[in-house]
């Protein structure tokens, strides 16, 4: 019940995104179902729409300048071009870096394409698409003057900075009034034109009237489209946070995958398992402990907030529990997530950047060193948690009669 409710929320959120993208004039916006299935790598029928969407977004944002092909499936060359466009937008992941090395059919799994789309959305593509479409619909629109905000230091605001801010505020207020005045004039002119069109009955003016009417109708349609665009953007902004929570789950699902290529068959799975030298019976004890430890920080926070007993288990690796809304939307009192995990476009970018890395800036050895440092700090953190939990277990057991804890 709880999961289905969450799934409905996600469906609505992705629906808002699709409506907004459609309103911006993009050609190939998939259905929300495609997005949902893309998370689970459901094959070419999901990958192709995402390729086309990526191409459309990159083209509209002027990152690439090739028309998306009319074929139901995008050609491999076009896919490579889209990949290059993603690279130029700053999405530096391994599969794009290796795009030149891959011969033949260029295939990526749908989840990777979904992540790439998330990257574009997080880097401001939405606003670019919005501005582009608004400019198409409203030719009288003027780009607002960009004002440089005052460079207020991290120290408390001093009197000159405050005065500068007051000045800027006053300037913005004046600009607002000027824009309102322009809008009133436009309204007056439109009203006058409409009244001329309605009241005129002279045959000599019929052509003018009909031309005026058709022009006005076109203008009306444009204004309606513009209103629709703004409405869909507003709806999207209201639900954007949920979308990034869902994308976080996509990132996590991707991060747990051990493979780079999309799993097309079970043989690949088996060979991957063999490469990891996993015991055929699995490492049940270690897995249980890892699951318990991974679940503990969340549980401890919940105990601190609600005073409840520890829940067994917690999130298991690979479990698709991501469609639940976050605790805060349940009305729970979960503490705020650290910035890198916060459900926002920026948090999503940070996480992707953490995964994608920046090969242009770091050499392989430096990356390896950083990764080693990160691994050691994470291991230290895990050991600390383990020690703390062991102490708690001992205290608990000490309070229970006739029971002895045998530590692993």
């Amino acid at each position: 019940m709880h999961q289905s409710k969450g799934a409905v929320r996600v469906q609505e959120v992705i629906g808002a995104l699709c409506r907004m993208l459609t309103a911006t004039g993009l050609d190939s916006v998939p259905t929300p179902e495609v997005f949902r299935r893309a998370k689970f790598n459901c094959g070419p029928e999901v990958e192709d729409p995402l390729w086309k969407l990526l191409a459309s977004v990159l083209k509209t944002c002027n990152i690439i300048s090739v028309e998306a092909p009319e074929l139901p499936e995008m050609a491999s060359d076009h896919r490579r071009l889209v990949a290059v466009g993603l690279w130029q937008s700053g999405y530096h992941v391994d599969w794009i870096r290796c795009v030149g090395e891959q011969g033949g059919e260029f295939v990526r799994c749908s989840r990777e394409l979904l992540l790439a789309l998330g990257w574009l959305l997080a880097t401001g593509a939405v606003e670019t698409l919005l501005a582009h479409r608004a400019k198409q619909l409203d030719s009288t629109r003027r780009d607002p003057a960009v004002m440089t905000p005052p460079t207020v230091g991290e120290a408390q605001m001093d009197r000159p900075s405050l005065r500068k801010l007051q000045w800027l505020f006053g300037s913005l207020r004046s600009q607002r009034r000027s824009l309102l005045s322009m809008q009133e004039e436009q309204s007056k002119l439109v009203t006058m034109a409409l009244s001329v069109g309605l009241s005129s009955s002279s045959s000599s003016m019929s052509t003018f009237v009909s031309d005026t009417n058709s022009a006005l109708q076109e203008e009306c349609v444009r204004m309606q489209d513009l209103s629709q665009l703004l409405k869909s953007y507003t709806d999207w902004k209201h639900t954007e946070k949920l979308f990034w929570v869902w994308m976080d789950s996509v990132v996590e699902g991707h991060a747990t995958d051990q493979r780079v290529a999309c799993p097309l068959d079970s043989d690949a799975n088996a060979s991957a398992n063999r490469s990891r030298a996993v015991c055929p019976h699995g490492d049940w004890g270690l897995e249980c402990l890892n699951d318990m430890l991974l679940g503990l920080p969340t549980v401890q926070r919940k105990r601190g907030q609600r005073g409840e007993e520890k829940e067994p288990g917690g999130r298991r690796r690979g479990q698709e529990s991501d469609d639940r809304p976050p605790a805060e939307l349940d009305g729970g009192t979960a503490p705020p997530l650290p910035p890198c995990l916060s459900p926002s476009a920026q948090g999503y970018r940070l996480r992707l950047q953490g995964e994608a890395g920046d090969p242009g800036a770091l050499r392989a050895s430096e990356r390896r060193r950083l990764l080693m440092l990160t691994e050691s700090s994470l291991l230290e953190g895990r050991e600390r948690c383990q020690r703390a939990n062991r102490m708690q277990f001992q205290e608990m057991i000490g309070r229970l009669e006739d029971m002895v804890l045998i530590a692993p």
Binding site: S161, W167, G170, S174, R177, S181, E185, K188
Partner: protein, 447 residues
């Protein structure tokens, strides 16, 4: 975009009539078509017969001045006031701000608002409202303040520029300082910008520059009208994209008066020469701008008697060092300046001297503090003219004098009963003094 002018009281109506005269002559006399059309559309409504009717509302509590202004306009043959664009009564305000603000204003609010609304509705696009009044009397100051308040309520998004004429220091109206303090304190919260002309300054211009022997109010009003017209006539601005600005008041306010504590603007224009000397005078842009810059920093309000010893202090010396430099050298610090150049070869004029950071306060860089408008069309028979609208410490001393004198009277409660009987309490006076002391403090500490 059109400007609606509201002329209030004797001074406002007289200056207003001179203003429209100057504007109409300037727009019509051999000017380029674009400039003429822009100016005409901004200030006049053209009837089907081609007659120009000013976009003005005339308000006074006595009929005499309004009748005189209307007949003078009609006699010019170039333009006239609207037949029904005036409101007057028979009894006057008795040089009493409270009488104007508390009695006449509310009593005749509907009639005055109707007049303004009619003019506003005749505009395709309202650029804003300019009110013209003096602060010394009763109608201009009191009714003018009340009308401004009503305008702010009815047109909250329109720009309101108040043009004020400050009285002679040794004025005839004994309570002029009370009226001035009450007017300024109220207008500060209502107006977007307050453009000030001082009678004393204009009188000196008439005497020393224009060589007028027997100076009348008409001469003073013509000088004020000339300077005001040089500000309001069409010009090419940064935001007008090669066309005459359609938003002059908005751009003026944005350039000069964005901060709520700094709204006092002074006007200074050169050259100002007698008409008999005009034929023999040759001006260059570098010379004009050099003089104007020195007039600004030395706080000299006309070309004669400029103190060339005053220099801008080193950039942004603050605190006591700044205060010392101000007292000893008479340097006038600016918050923002708007330079308006009109005439021949205007695009060759360079105003780098006004972009010196040393002229301005530390928290507003010159690129935001300084603006320039240009018009390639000569103005009012001057081949080249430069007008500087300045938000600076220029008006600090006269304001301080005004408040000091008013306070000295208030301390002994002189003539207060004349105000309290109309509904103004002593607390209202105290509030006004407090507001203006804050303004004085803000300008004093401009560094």
């Amino acid at each position: 975009m059109s400007i609606v002018t509201v002329q209030l009281g004797q001074c406002g109506n007289q200056v207003g009539q001179e203003l429209f005269d100057v504007i109409c002559k300037d727009a019509r006399d051999g000017q380029k078509r674009g400039y003429s059309d822009a100016s005409t559309a901004r200030f006049f409504h053209e009837t089907t017969t081609g007659d120009l009717t000013s976009r003005a509302v005339l308000i006074d509590m006595e009929p005499k001045v309004i009748n005189h202004s209307m007949s003078k306009a009609a006699k010019s043959g170039r333009w006239r006031y609207g037949e029904k664009s005036h409101f007057s009564q028979k009894q006057g305000s008795g040089n009493n701000w409270a009488n104007g603000y508390c009695v006449h204003g509310p009593r005749h609010r509907e009639a005055m608002e109707d007049l303004v609304r009619r003019e506003v509705e005749r505009c395709d696009r309202l650029a804003g409202v300019v009110t013209m009044m003096s602060v010394a009397g009763g109608t201009g100051s009191g009714v003018g303040t009340y009308v401004t308040q009503c305008l702010r309520e009815v047109y909250p998004n329109s720009f309101i520029l108040n043009h004020l004429t400050w009285p002679y220091d040794s004025g005839e109206v004994i309570v002029q300082n009370y009226n001035s303090v009450l007017t300024l304190s109220h207008l500060y919260g209502l107006s977007d910008a307050i453009l000030v002309h001082e009678n004393d300054t204009v009188h000196r211009i008439c005497a020393q520059l224009l060589n007028i022997k027997h100076i009348s109010f008409g001469d003073v009003n013509r000088v004020i009208a000339h300077q005001l017209a040089s500000v309001l006539q069409p010009a090419l601005t940064t935001d007008s994209y090669g066309d005459y600005s359609k938003n002059p008041l908005g751009e003026l306010v944005s350039s000069l008066a964005c901060h709520p504590e700094y709204k006092l603007l002074s006007v200074c224009g050169i050259p100002q020469v007698a008409s008999s000397s005009m034929a023999y005078s040759v001006f260059s842009w570098p010379g004009l701008l050099k003089h104007l810059r020195q007039m600004l920093i030395s706080n000299t309000k006309m070309e004669e008697g400029i103190d060339w010893q005053v220099r801008a202090p080193p950039v942004h010396c603050g605190g006591a060092e700044w205060a010392h430099s101000f007292r000893t050298t008479g340097f006038n610090r600016s918050l923002a300046n708007l330079l308006i150049l009109r005439g021949k070869d205007v695009f060759s004029a360079e105003a780098d001297g006004f972009q010196d950071a040393a002229l301005y306060t530390s928290w507003l860089p010159p690129r935001e503090a300084f603006s320039m408008w240009k018009s390639p069309v000569s103005f009012n028979q001057y081949e080249k003219s430069a007008t500087l609208v300045s938000n600076s410490q220029t008006l600090l001393k006269p304001l301080d004098n005004m408040v000091r004198k008013a306070w000295n009277m208030f301390a002994s409660r002189a003539y207060i009963h004349q105000y309290t009987k109309f509904g103004i309490a002593e607390e209202d006076f105290l509030d006004s003094f407090t507001s203006l002391e804050q303004v004085i403090s803000s300008y004093t500490q401009l560094c």
